[in-house]
Amino acid sequence: MFNPQLDRDGKLKHLLSIEGLPKAILNQILDTADSFAGVGEREVKKVPLLRGKTVCNIFFENSTRTRTTFEIAAKRLSADVINLNVGTSSQSKGETILDTVENLTAMHADMFVVRHAESGAAHLIARHVQPHVHVINAGDGRHAHPTQGLLDVYTIRRYKPDMHNLKVALVGDVLHSRVARSEIHALTTLGVPEVRVIAPKTLLPGFVERLGVQVYHDMRQGLKDVDVVMMLRLQNERMSGALLPSAQEYFKCFGLTPEKLALAKPDAIVMHPGPMNRGVEIDSAVADGHQSVILPQVTYGIAVRMAVMSILAGNS
């Protein structure tokens, strides 16, 4: 079965989504990330793997956070980095995605890191790049954010090494979340036995159980005995789209407070892909509390992205 992410030998050519990634490659990325985790603490925070290569961040949708982590990761691999915030430049002048990509190819980029507001954008680009160019999806619409999914499971693996015995709960706007989809695929591929989603019906896609999750609408029920709580960001637009009445009611029913967190296992960890809306999806006491691993997530994000880039670059 044709898999657009793999080359003819079954090696990773593009990272477009976690769905469709063989478990072995998932594990290879996570294991390699272990080796990169320490690089940031050394005097010379670089390894020479991507020296002479050019990584191009093409962000059709703005994001300083994600773009910066990719930039740091690429530079730590000694790559040259070009940043293109297309939202402000030629795209708004009517240039198509593929035209933009083609122009960049002329600049001999070896790797494109792409973020776009529409699902499927990274797949479209991957279909049209030169054979030696690798595409990393940094988020496409609601579909996927594979490096975030990877760094989240990497974080879980660091704190809870026995993945085959975990209960993980994702709380919040799964309907609009590419992060949630990628996390769910990563967890189920790695064999986490129980993945729960906790949200009001308006924030869950139809047929969400087909993704392999258990659905809860009652947060107290859903958090019982879980080992990992992953909070999703709630965007302001959701209130104006008749999906939710108010941020206050959302926080009351689905916000993570110390009292609700106490229902999970005592050593449960709390995660959030960022940026956080304090007082909307998560209480500050929890975000800054001892169970929160939100800051380490960010550091691991660099190591995981370094792992992805080096594996791809080595598979040319």
Partner: protein, 165 residues
């Protein structure tokens, strides 16, 4: 050909190393064979400070062979600046692994000196790098590969196998 007994070579290696280390020397084993050897040498040399290196990210054949399937984190838990370091590896061949190891060490800091101890030198050097201590010289042609093996009891042996050139 008959290969020498690796366990005997280990003792000879330890004897060769003792004169060139002080209590302040740091040992660094190169994965995997060098690390195995270092683990056996440490009690013999007086438990010096030590670390391990996985040189996968510094190899010069990344472009043609890609990333090694198994990489392990390098661990250098001591200050490299101004330190005398002894690198330990199992088989010395072209010298490229040692070049990579030195490049990696220099990304941690500026050592006072780096010396190299290997169990076997099999000839075929391609860079101006040489071990200071070597337990055996076994020149071999290109179509043969020499490997250090460790059985489930931790006992070392040397193995020769044919490779396609």
């Amino acid at each position: 050909m008959t290969l020498p007994d690796a366990e005997e070579l280990l003792l000879k290696l330890a004897d060769g190393i003792k004169p060139i280390v002080t209590p302040y020397t740091a040992l660094v084993g190169i994965h995997s064979g060098g690390v195995w050897l270092m683990e056996r040498l440490l009690p013999m040399l007086g438990d010096l400070e030590h670390g391990t290196l996985d040189v996968s990210f510094y190899r010069d054949d990344f472009g043609s062979r890609g990333l090694h399937a198994e990489t392990r984190p390098s661990q250098i838990p001591f200050e490299v600046n101004d330190r005398h370091i002894l690198l330990i590896d199992d088989v010395f061949y072209t010298g490229r692994t040692i070049r990579a190891a030195m490049n990696e060490l220099f990304d941690y800091g500026r050592p006072a000196s780096i010396s190299l101890a290997v169990l076997v030198n099999r000839g075929g050097r391609e860079l101006p790098i040489a071990p200071q201590v070597c337990a055996a010289d076994i020149p071999l042609p290109d179509d043969q590969n020499l490997q250090l093996e460790r059985d489930e009891n931790g006992r070392f042996s040397l193995k020769l196998e044919r490779v396609d050139v």
